[in-house]
C-alpha cells in the first residue's frame, strides 16, 4: 500500500481517522472517509484515469462533480459492475475496486491509441464518407466499429440489488443544496412550508464545502452545518443527500434519483422519488467552463474550481506546481487556495490586459507571477501535463514569442454557465446575458423560480440572499406567511472583475494540434470548423454531425463553448445560434432504479381465479391470458400433450367436464333504460328477451368491425348480466361507460363490473344435468331450465346463478357463485360428478370443443371482420340502429370478395393443418404467391378423429368443396385442404339442447 503522498496534513471534510482501502487498476491504495474516488486517486498521485472515446488519448480528472467528462471508470466487477461511473462522484468506501475503461491492455499502454496517430483520417463524420464499398461489407466494418466504441462494459448477470420508488408531495422542492438552495430551504421552512431539499453530493453544501471565507463571522463550513441543523430540527423538512433532481415534467412533477447510503442495511440500492411540488426552487448552481487551446485534454489540466475543491474540501494537492489560466476573476481564488496549501504557482495567465478585481489584487499581493494580456496556447506532456506554452494576446490574436512554463497542474476557467437544465426541461425560456456570457432563465413556464448561480447570481452573499428570497416567495405562493427577513449575510467577499469572452485560443503555432471542445467525445475545434464548412451549421446538425455534447456528461462543459465557437465561425451572434434542447435526465439514472420493483415476476400483477389453488394442486399448466393465469390443461403422468387434450375433450363429449371461466368479463346492467341501452350496443334484438332468459349478443365498433361477443341474461325486468370475452373485458366496460356517460346521458342505466365478484365455471357434457342435479337445490330439468334459460338456486348449499348456455356444443350449464364460494362449489361439482367420470379441462380442450363447433373466438375477432364475414349477418336487427351498423353499408365492407368464415379439412384426413397457415390456390406459384385467406384456428379433433381448422377465406362461402393449399413456409408445411362449412360437429345443435 502506498502512502497518500499528495494528502495535505490538515483541512477538508475528510476523516483522517477513518482510512479506507481501495483498488484501482489492480493497485492497492488508501483514502479517507469523505473522499471521492477522484480525490483519493489524487491523494495517491494517480492522474491518468482513463482513455478518450475516439482517439484513446490519456485522460485525467478534470472536474470535481457531475460535469466530469474524463474520469469515467468501471466500478466493481461481475454482476455488480457498473460502467462509465464518474470518479468525481463516487463516494469512497472500504474495499472499492475500479478499473479504467476503453483501453487495452492497460490504461498506460493502450493499443487503441493508434487512433490518435491515424486521427487525420478520422475527422468528424468520417464514417459517413467511407465504408460504403462493397455494399455488403458494412456489417464487417460495423463489427469493428462497434467493438471500438462504447465505453465501459455491461454486467452479464442479473442485477442482484433491488430498487424502490417513492411518491411525495411538498409545498416547496428545492433542487440543489448549495448556498442558494440552503437559503431557499431555510426561508421556506421558516415560513412553515413542507420542504424537500435534494442535493446530488454525498455531503450537502455544494460550493460551501470548498469555501474558505467566513459567513456571519463563522467559517463557511460551520455556517453550513448550522443551517443544516436548523433544517433537521424541522419536522416538515426532508434533506436528501446523494439525490439528484433529474427530471422536471409537466405540472410540477419532478423526479429525484437517490443513492441510498451504502451503510444502510437491507435498503434498496437506489430510490426514485416522484415529487409533485406546489413550488420549485432551482438552486442548481453553475458549471465552470473550460478554456479551449491545443492539447487542452492532458491529465493534470483541470477546472480551477475543481482544484479548489480538491484542496479545500478533500485536503489533497492536485499538483506541485501550477499554472492558472483564466479569463475571469473566480479562478484567482484557486490560485490563492493552492498557494496557501503549498502548491507553488508558476504563473497566472489572463487574456485581459489588466486583471484588476480585488481577488486579483490579492494574488498580486501574494507575490504570484501574473501574466496579463497573455494566453496559454498549448499544453505540453502526454500522460501528464508538464508545461504550458504561453503567448501574448492582443486584440483577439496571439502574438510574440512562446514562453514555456513548467507545471504539473494547469487550472483553467473560461467563466461560468448557470445549470439551466431543469429550468429548460420545465419549458422555461432562456436569455443570453452578454455581461455574464451565458444563458440565464428568462421566463418561467411552470411554478418555479431559479435562485443563486443557477440564474447567474454568483457572489456568495448574493447567492444566500437570493435563495432566501426565492424560498420565502415560494412559501408565500403556497399561501403561507412569509418567513422573517434574513439579515444580509456578512461575507468578506471581494467583488469580481468582468469577464473577457475567450471561446478558443487559435494560433498558427498550434494549428495542427488538437484543441478539444468536447473532451469525452473527442470533438475538436477543427471538427466544428469542418462541420460548418460542409454546411452543418444549425446547432442540432453540429451536435449530431460531430457528436458534440452527446457523451455521458451531456456536454455540461462543452455545449456553450461549442455553440460560441460555431457562432464565431459563422460570424453570428451566440443567441442567434441558440442552444440544443435540454432533456431529462440531468445526469444518467440507473435503469434498475427507474424500473423499481416492477421487474421479473412482478413486471405485471397476476390475476387468478378463486379456484387457482386447486388448479395448481391438480398439476395444471397455466397460460397467460392478459393478466390472468388460466389452466391450459391438466396433464396426467405419461401423457403426451395431444393425449391430454384428447382425454379432456372426449370427457366433455362423452361424459362431463368442468372448466373455470371466471376470467370472462361480467357486467351488471341495471336501470329503466337497460334494455334500450343493450339495443344500441348490440347488433341484435333485446326488447323481446324474457326475464330468466339468456341470449348471445354481438357488439361492433363504430367502424363496423366486430368488437366483442358474449351472452347477456335478463335477470329481472330492468336488470341484465352481460358477459364479455376475457381479452376485451376491460375495454368493453370502458366503452359501455363511454357511450352511456358521453353520448347517451339521458338513459337511466347503471353499469357495474362484477368480474371479480363471481367465480364462474362451466359444467358441460351429456352427464352434466345429472351431476348438477345432485347438488342443486332446484329442478334443472329441461322444462325448468331449458336451453338459454336462467335460474337462481343453491348449488352445493351456496347461492348460485345457473345459466343453461353452451360454448362446447354439449348440454352445459354455467354456474356463477360469489367468488368466496368458488372453490367449494368447484370441489362439490367434481365430487358430485366423480361417478359420472367428470374431468376438469383447460383452455386448450375448450378451444378444440369450440373449433369443432365452429364458434368464433379471438383469432376470428381480429378487428378486421364484419358480422357478415363471420356468417353472423342474421344477428343484425333490421329495424334499429346500433353502434357500427352504418359502417356496414360502406362499399368495402359490403364487397363480395371479403374474407369469409369457413371450415377446412385436410384431403388426406391425417395431417395437421399448420397454425397460421395462409391459403393459396397454387402452392407452386412463384413469389409473391397471391393469398386468398388464412387459417385462424386449427386442431386435431378427437371427436371426428381428424384434423380440422377454421379459416377466413376470400369468397369462402362460395368455395365449399374447393381444394386449396394451406401453406406454412415458416415450417415448410404445405397441405392440400378442402373448404367446408365452419360447423363440424352437431350442426343442428341437438346435443346442446339435450335432446
Amino acid at each position: 500500500m502506498i502512502l497518500q503522498a499528495y494528502r495535505l496534513p490538515q483541512g477538508g471534510f475528510i476523516d483522517r481517522n477513518k482510512p479506507l482501502r481501495f483498488r484501482f487498476n489492480g493497485r492497492d491504495l488508501q483514502g479517507y472517509a469523505g473522499d471521492s474516488l477522484a480525490s483519493a486517486l489524487i491523494a495517491n498521485g494517480v492522474h491518468l484515469v482513463g482513455r478518450s472515446f475516439k482517439y484513446h488519448r490519456p485522460r485525467g480528472i478534470f472536474s470535481a462533480g457531475s460535469e466530469e467528462p474524463n474520469a469515467l471508470v468501471q466500478l466493481e466487477a461481475d454482476a455488480r459492475t457498473e460502467p462509465n461511473m464518474r470518479a468525481t462522484q463516487i463516494e469512497l468506501y472500504e474495499g472499492l475496486s475500479a478499473t479504467s475503461q476503453n483501453c487495452w491492455p492497460a490504461v498506460g499502454m493502450d493499443i487503441g491509441a493508434v487512433n490518435n496517430t491515424l486521427s487525420r483520417l478520422l475527422p468528424a463524420g468520417f464514417y459517413y464518407k467511407t465504408f460504403m464499398w462493397p455494399p455488403s461489407w458494412w456489417m464487417k466494418y460495423e463489427h469493428y466499429i462497434r467493438k471500438a466504441s462504447g465505453l465501459g462494459v455491461s454486467a452479464h448477470d442479473p442485477d442482484p440489488d433491488f430498487y424502490e420508488h417513492r411518491h411525495a408531495h411538498c409545498d416547496v422542492l428545492v433542487a440543489g443544496g448549495g448556498p442558494a438552495g440552503l437559503g431557499a430551504a431555510l426561508a421556506a421552512a421558516r415560513a412553515g412550508a413542507r420542504v424537500i431539499l435534494a442535493d446530488e453530493g454525498f455531503q450537502p453544501g455544494g460550493s460551501l464545502l470548498h469555501e474558505t471565507t467566513a459567513i456571519d463571522g463563522m467559517p463557511a463550513t460551520a455556517w453550513t452545518r448550522h443551517i443544516l441543523a436548523e433544517l433537521a430540527s424541522l419536522p416538515e423538512v426532508s434533506v436528501l443527500t446523494r439525490s439528484t433532481v433529474f427530471g422536471y415534467f409537466d405540472h410540477n412533477f419532478l423526479t429525484i434519483a437517490e443513492t441510498v447510503s451504502p451503510h444502510a442495511p437491507r435498503a434498496p440500492r437506489q430510490r426514485i422519488w416522484k415529487v409533485r411540488a406546489q413550488r420549485v426552487v432551482l438552486a442548481t448552481g453553475a458549471t465552470e467552463r473550460p478554456l479551449v487551446f491545443a492539447d487542452n485534454d492532458r491529465p493534470g489540466i483541470m477546472l480551477a474550481s475543481a482544484a479548489r475543491t480538491y484542496v479545500n474540501r478533500y485536503g489533497v494537492r492536485p499538483g506541485n506546481r501550477a499554472v492558472v489560466f483564466t479569463n475571469n476573476d473566480s479562478a484567482y481564488l484557486a490560485a490563492l487556495d493552492l498557494h496557501r496549501s503549498g502548491v507553488s504557482i508558476a504563473a497566472t495567465v489572463d487574456p485581459r490586459p489588466q486583471a484588476n478585481g480585488e481577488i486579483a489584487t490579492q494574488v498580486r499581493a501574494a507575490g504570484i507571477r501574473m501574466l496579463s494580456g497573455q494566453v496559454v496556447v498549448r499544453a505540453r506532456g502526454t500522460r501528464h501535463v508538464n508545461a504550458a506554452e504561453i503567448m501574448r494576446y492582443e486584440n483577439g490574436r496571439t502574438a510574440g514569442a512562446v514562453e514555456r512554463v513548467d507545471c504539473d497542474l494547469l487550472c483553467i476557467s473560461g467563466g461560468w454557465s448557470p445549470a439551466v437544465h431543469l429550468f429548460s426541461q420545465s419549458k422555461g425560456r432562456l436569455r443570453y446575458d452578454e455581461t455574464l456570457t451565458s444563458f440565464v432563465p428568462a421566463a418561467s413556464a411552470q411554478a418555479e423560480q431559479s435562485a443563486g448561480a443557477a440564474r447567474g447570481v454568483y457572489a456568495l452573499a448574493d447567492c444566500i440572499s437570493d435563495g432566501y428570497a426565492a424560498g420565502s416567495q415560494a412559501a408565500t405562493a403556497c399561501g403561507l406567511s412569509p418567513a422573517p427577513p434574513l439579515a444580509e449575510p456578512v461575507v468578506d467577499r471581494p467583488s469580481p472583475g468582468t469577464i473577457l469572452p475567450l471561446w478558443r485560443v487559435d494560433t498558427d503555432h498550434t494549428r495542427r494540434a488538437k484543441s478539444f471542445v468536447d473532451l469525452q467525445n473527442d470533438v475538436t475545434t477543427a471538427d466544428l470548423a469542418l462541420a460548418a464548412r460542409e454546411g452543418y451549421v444549425s446547432v442540432e446538425h453540429l451536435k449530431r454531425y460531430t457528436t458534440l455534447g452527446m457523451g455521458t456528461d451531456q456536454g455540461k462543459t462543452s455545449n456553450i463553448n461549442g455553440l460560441a465557437i460555431l457562432a464565431e465561425i459563422n460570424a453570428a451572434q451566440i443567441p442567434a445560434v441558440g442552444t440544443t434542447t435540454f432533456r431529462p435526465p440531468y445526469t444518467p439514472v440507473t435503469l434498475g432504479a427507474l424500473a423499481g420493483a416492477e421487474v421479473g415476476p412482478h413486471f405485471d400483477p397476476v390475476r387468478a381465479s378463486a379456484m387457482h389453488g386447486w388448479h395448481q394442486q391438480a398439476g395444471a399448466r397455466f397460460i397467460n391470458a392478459g393478466l390472468w393465469k388460466r389452466p391450459q390443461f391438466y396433464p396426467h403422468p405419461g401423457e403426451s400433450l395431444q393425449q391430454t387434450i384428447n382425454r379432456e375433450v372426449l370427457a366433455v363429449r362423452r361424459r362431463a367436464g368442468l372448466v373455470d371461466v371466471s376470467t370472462l368479463g361480467k357486467i351488471d346492467i341495471k336501470g329503466r333504460d337497460a334494455c334500450v341501452f343493450l339495443e344500441r350496443v348490440y347488433t341484435n334484438r333485446w326488447r323481446n328477451l324474457a326475464v330468466g332468459k339468456a341470449r348471445y349478443g354481438l357488439m361492433l365498433r363504430e367502424d363496423g368491425m366486430v368488437f366483442d361477443d358474449g351472452t347477456t341474461t335478463r335477470i329481472a325486468e330492468e336488470h341484465f348480466l352481460m358477459t364479455t370475452t376475457t381479452a376485451n373485458a376491460v375495454r368493453v366496460m370502458s366503452t359501455l361507460e363511454y357511450w352511456l356517460q358521453v353520448h347517451w346521458r339521458d338513459l337511466d342505466v347503471r353499469l357495474t363490473s362484477v368480474t371479480e365478484q363471481w367465480a364462474a365455471m362451466a359444467l358441460a357434457g351429456p352427464a352434466s344435468r345429472k351431476v348438477l342435479a345432485r347438488v342443486a337445490s332446484a329442478d334443472v330439468g329441461d322444462d325448468a331450465l331449458p336451453y338459454l334459460g336462467y335460474r337462481e338456486m343453491d348449488v352445493a348449499g351456496f347461492p348460485a346463478r345457473v345459466f343453461r348456455i353452451s360454448f362446447s356444443g354439449e348440454l352445459a350449464y354455467e354456474i356463477n357463485v360469489p367468488a368466496d364460494y368458488g372453490l367449494a362449489v368447484w370441489e362439490a361439482l367434481l365430487e358430485a360428478g366423480q361417478s359420472s367420470g367428470i374431468t376438469p379441462y383447460g383452455t386448450e380442450a375448450m378451444a378444440v370443443l369450440r373449433i369443432e363447433k365452429g364458434h368464433i373466438a379471438g383469432m376470428e375477432l381480429d378487428g378486421r371482420t364484419t358480422p357478415a364475414d363471420l356468417g353472423l349477418e342474421k344477428m343484425i336487427a333490421a329495424d334499429k340502429d346500433c353502434i357500427g351498423k352504418r359502417s356496414l353499408a360502406l362499399p368495402a365492407l359490403a364487397a363480395a370478395d371479403r374474407k369469409q368464415f369457413v371450415g377446412l379439412v385436410t384431403t388426406d384426413g391425417r395431417s395437421a393443418i399448420p397454425r397460421g397457415a395462409q391459403l393459396v390456390a397454387d402452392s407452386g406459384h412463384p413469389l409473391p404467391n397471391p393469398i386468398l385467406g388464412h387459417v385462424t384456428s386449427t386442431c386435431h379433433s378427437p371427436t371426428l378423429e381428424r384434423p380440422i381448422a377454421l379459416a377466413l377465406l376470400s369468397r369462402g362461402r362460395e368455395r365449399y368443396g374447393e381444394k386449396l393449399y394451406a401453406m406454412s413456409p415458416l415450417t415448410g408445411a404445405n397441405m392440400q385442404v378442402e373448404v367446408a362449412h365452419h360447423v363440424f360437429y352437431d350442426p343442428e345443435g341437438k346435443r346442446l339442447r339435450g335432446c
Binding site: Y128, I145, R146, L151, F249, G600, E702, P928
Partner: protein
C-alpha cells in the same frame, strides 16, 4: 466531391479544409415546378427521386427549422418490412430493398445494419399471430423465420428466457434482413443527393399559407415570401393537420407523442433488434454503444415534444424484465417525437381533393423505415399525378370507402395503433 476512402485520404492531406458544402443554402426562386413542404427524410427523398427518377429538378424543399429536425432525427432507427397486410408488406419490402443499396445510391453511408429484427412471442396467441404474419411475409417474398425458445436464447443470450419470467418467452419471429440505420445520415444523404441534382433546399423557411386558384394550388406563402409552385407536396408528419388545414383539409389523423430513450454507451451486448408485442417496446444497440429504447405513446393528443415519465418508466421496466443484467446501466437521454397517428395505423400517400396538392402523412411510428419508398412513391404520384402501384391503397379517400388498412385491428382510435 464523391465520398470515398480515397477522397478522405486526399482531404486528410489538406487537413480537411477543402471539403465542399454538403448542400447549398440558396435563396428561394420565384417559382418551382414542385415545392415539397417539409425537409425531413420523406420530403428530401421525394425531391431526390423527383430529380433522379422523373427528371424534375426545379424543385424546392421548404423546411421551417433544420433538415431532419423532426421525426427523422427522433426515431429509434429501426428498418423492417415484417407486415401482414399485403399493401403494407409490398410497400415496406420495396422500401427495404431501397435501403439495401441506399448508401451506394446516395454516396453517403447511412449505416444500414441488417442485424435482424426479432419479435418476441410470450404466449401461444403471440406464436399463432406471428406464424400467420411470418407465413404471409414469406408468400409475399419477404424473409421471415420462426424461432423457438432455445433459438431465441442462443441468438440473444442476455434475454431472460426462464419460465419464472412474468411473460415467459416462447419463441419469436425474426426478419433477418431488418435492422437499423443512422437516422441523421438519411436526411443528410438525401439532401446532398437532391442538392447535387439541382434541388433547392431552403431551411428556416416556414410555410404560412397555400395559395389557390379555384381548386388548383398555385404556390405557397412562406416566412421568406411567396413562392410559386406548379405542384405542392406535403411531407410534414407530426404537423400534417396544421399544414393541411391551410388548404381546408381535415385528416383522419391525431398527433401523439412517442417516447424514446437511450442508455449510456457500453461495449457490444446486443446484436439484434428485439421487440416485444406483449408490451409495446423495442430495443437495439447503436453503433456508438447506446441501448436505444422505444416505448409507448403518451396516449393523449399532444404536440409537446417533451419527455414523459410513465411511458419511459414502462419501457425501462420492460427492458429490465427482459434483460435483467441491464439493470445497472444508466439512462442517458429521453425525448419525445410528435407522430401523425392515422385512424387505421397505415399511412396516406396520394392526391388530395385539391388539384396539384399531394399529401404524405399518417406514418404513425413507421415513417423512418418507409423513407426511401415513401419518397419514391410520393415523387411518382406528384410527377405522374397518379399513384404508383405501391401506394394505390394508401389514398386519403380510402376511409370513406371503408378500405382501411388496419394492421393491428385496433379500430378508429388513433392512439391504439
Amino acid at each position: 466531391m464523391k465520398y470515398s476512402i480515397f477522397s478522405l485520404v486526399r482531404n486528410a492531406l489538406s487537413h480537411h479544409e477543402r471539403w465542399p458544402l454538403a448542400w447549398r443554402s440558396p435563396d428561394p426562386k420565384r417559382e418551382y415546378d414542385a415545392v415539397i413542404i417539409g425537409g425531413g427524410g420523406h420530403g428530401l427523398a421525394t425531391a431526390y427521386y423527383l430529380a433522379r427518377e422523373h427528371g424534375i429538378g426545379n424543385v424546392a424543399v421548404l423546411e421551417k427549422g433544420y433538415l431532419g429536425g423532426g421525426n427523422t432525427g427522433r426515431n429509434t432507427t429501426i428498418v423492417r418490412s415484417n407486415y401482414y397486410l399485403n399493401a403494407n408488406a409490398h410497400f415496406y419490402e420495396f422500401s427495404l430493398k431501397l435501403w439495401e443499396r441506399l448508401s451506394v445510391d446516395l454516396n453517403f453511408n447511412v449505416m444500414f445494419s441488417q442485424r435482424g429484427v426479432l419479435n418476441l412471442a410470450h404466449s401461444y396467441a403471440d406464436l399463432e399471430s406471428y406464424s400467420r404474419r411470418g407465413n404471409a411475409m414469406r408468400l409475399n417474398g419477404i424473409d421471415a423465420e420462426l424461432l423457438d425458445r432455445d433459438e431465441v436464447e442462443r441468438m440473444v443470450p442476455l434475454l431472460d428466457c426462464s419460465a419464472e419470467a412474468r411473460y415467459p418467452i416462447m419463441g419469436g419471429l425474426l426478419q433477418p434482413r431488418g435492422g437499423t440505420a443512422r437516422h441523421d445520415a438519411v436526411a443528410w444523404g438525401y439532401a446532398r443527393g437532391a442538392d447535387a441534382r439541382g434541388v433547392d433546399i431552403i431551411q428556416q423557411c416556414e410555410v404560412t399559407g397555400l395559395r389557390r386558384n379555384g381548386n388548383r394550388i398555385v404556390g405557397v406563402e412562406t416566412s421568406r415570401g411567396y413562392i410559386g409552385a406548379k405542384k405542392v407536396g406535403l411531407a410534414v408528419a407530426g404537423h400534417s393537420g396544421q399544414v393541411a388545414a391551410m388548404a381546408g383539409l381535415r385528416l383522419p389523423i391525431e398527433t401523439h407523442v412517442l417516447q424514446a430513450l437511450v442508455s449510456e454507451p457500453v461495449k457490444p451486448v446486443l446484436d439484434t433488434v428485439v421487440t416485444s408485442g406483449a408490451v409495446h417496446f423495442y430495443v437495439s444497440q447503436s453503433d456508438k454503444g447506446e441501448l436505444v429504447l422505444g416505448g409507448d405513446l403518451d396516449m393523449y393528443n399532444s404536440y409537446g415534444q417533451r419527455s414523459n415519465l410513465p411511458p419511459v418508466e414502462h419501457a425501462v421496466q420492460s427492458l429490465v424484465a427482459l434483460f435483467p443484467s441491464f439493470g445497472r446501466l444508466r439512462m442517458l437521454r429521453t425525448w419525445g417525437g410528435v407522430m401523425d397517428m392515422s385512424m387505421d395505423g397505415s399511412p396516406i400517400i396520394g392526391k388530395t381533393p385539391i388539384d396539384n396538392l399531394y399529401i404524405n402523412c399518417g406514418w404513425c411510428y413507421g415513417g423512418f423505415k418507409a423513407t426511401p419508398a415513401a419518397g419514391w412513391c410520393f415523387a411518382h404520384t406528384i410527377a405522374q399525378d397518379r399513384p404508383h402501384a405501391l401506394n394505390e391503397a394508401f389514398t386519403l379517400d380510402r376511409y370513406a370507402q371503408g378500405h382501411t388498412l388496419d394492421e393491428r385491428g385496433a379500430g378508429p382510435f388513433a392512439w391504439m395503433h
